[in-house]
Subunit: 300 residues, 2 copies
């Protein structure tokens, strides 16, 4: 059997994740209809499902089971989705569209969007907690995963990055500030995804540390690539207005160090991430290595 | 040593909880200052800390350690606090004051209030997850606690109740609808508190089931008492405008069955709750029994 391309691998894993997400709330659960609709609207809005794919890829790199990693993969997508729903709110980014569809609050109103976000965040912890009961992942490991999710998605992690980003809109003066934002707003959840997958797959401490280095570097590279695409990208491919950051007077990586140096930085970070993975003795590191290139070579 | 009154018991346990809450974010953690301030502002705003006291009381009823129950007690107060911060937002209840102080969004703006609520909710799961690492509570038990927190605070629980409440403002026609709101908006977190404390204390299945019955009944009684106080209570004691529900044209228990029948219902539910606890063979059920009376005899 030939080795499927990384694009096919991502598609195939994403479809497993879609199936897992689609089953997040069984029929017999009593949830007010509008709440369930609003949660489902944003959860099933598509996207490449990159974070949950990373959970599965890290589990597989350790020789672990894809199935056992699905509840945590779904959890990370729920956290990512809630963060988008809340970020889009009028009090925050005030966006009317995301991925070419109306944002949650434009569909359901602000109150329901706030509560649907809250519900998705809470339900993420439910989903993650089930890995033990459903697939026999040792309770200690699942608890470590939950603790780390709370750290990396919480005030020291993603929410902290979001607050710094908001404040940065009033004027960033240093590259270090922008890097703080990128690391927490983007890398933290990627680092979580990789380490959680690793834990499920039985990663050694050395491998967990390599996954952290890999995640931090490719997360930052991914975000710098996003900044670059926002300057040079093609509007149609991206499905959103380009130069929106510039219009919002938002400071990006190219603003500080220029386009060419930003591109070099992406390559450098990607290489650092891949090296960490290569040196950590994974059973099957290929997909992680391919994913790093896929993420930073994308044009949308 | 004489048996301290239930009021003294609550005060003493609440002070342990205050200390635990005050330490929620060590100095060395890097959290944007405004985010930490906003989280602390609402978390340390006082209140009787009834839910976390219930965690401790249930653990003690089983002969368990108060100390080991503190991380989960703090967690439930964080969840309660986040729910108040989000409920107060302009898009929801649009309240300017709570407990005589400006609400979070009046102090810090809507964006920070939304994110501070998100951070408190996420951090609650961090706090709960630490019970194992810090106090040796078996990981399986902590995982059960986390799963139940996610259920009872999530779309099937508290958030579901909140959505039903919002929709109910457009006109409830049946008592069953109001009961659904009360049970989920209020009882669910109380049930969680009691069962989580029970699990930490090593409760049997029969005791967990008794704690659920007790929590469901006194939670509903507590909420009906709240409805009653809103009709007849004294403005100064309550520290908020009475008859606010009526002004908002909000439907309450007395609206459906009258004041006297509502009072009888409170007594009946309290008795049912106490009976469940009495019959379940707890090592030290006294505080739970006293708590039930304290909650429903309060005049503010």
């Amino acid at each position: 059997m030939s080795h499927p391309s990384i694009t096919d691998y991502i598609k195939e894993r994403a479809s497993l994740i879609e199936r897992e997400l689609a089953a997040y709330a069984p029929e017999e659960w009593h949830i007010p209809a509008v709440l369930k609709d609003a949660m489902t609207y944003s959860l099933m809005a598509g996207g490449k499902r990159l974070r949950p794919v990373m959970v599965l890829a890290a589990a597989e790199a350790c020789g672990g089971s894809v199935e056992a990693a699905l509840p945590v993969a779904a959890a990370v997508e729920m956290v990512h989705t809630y963060s988008l729903v809340h970020d889009d709110l009028p009090a925050l980014d005030n966006d009317d569209y995301r991925r070419g569809r109306l944002t949650n609050h434009k569909m359901y109103g602000e109150a329901i969007a706030i509560l649907a976000g809250d519900a998705l965040l809470t339900h993420a912890f439910y989903s993650a907690s089930r890995a033990s009961r459903l697939y026999g992942v040792p309770a200690e490991r699942v608890l470590d995963i939950i603790e780390e999710l709370a750290v990396l998605a919480g005030p020291r992690g993603m929410v902290g990055g979001q607050v710094a980003d908001m404040q940065g809109e009033q004027g960033l003066t240093q590259l270090a500030e922008l890097e703080y934002i990128h690391l927490h707003k983007t890398s933290d959840l990627i680092v979580f995804s990789l380490k959680a997958g690793g834990r499920i797959g039985g990663a050694t401490e050395r491998q967990l540390s390599a996954l952290e280095t890999y995640g931090r570097n490719i997360g930052l590279a991914f975000q710098i690539q996003d900044d670059i695409l926002d300057v040079v990208g093609d509007e149609q491919k991206l499905g959103k207005a380009v130069r929106s950051d510039e219009k919002m007077q938002k400071v990006t990586y190219p603003y500080f160090i220029g386009l060419e140096a930003s591109r070099l930085k992406v390559t450098e970070l990607t290489d650092l991430g891949k090296k960490a993975v290569r040196d950590a003795g994974f059973q099957a590191p290929e997909r992680l290595l391919e994913l790093a290139d896929f993420l930073t070579e994308r044009d949308h």
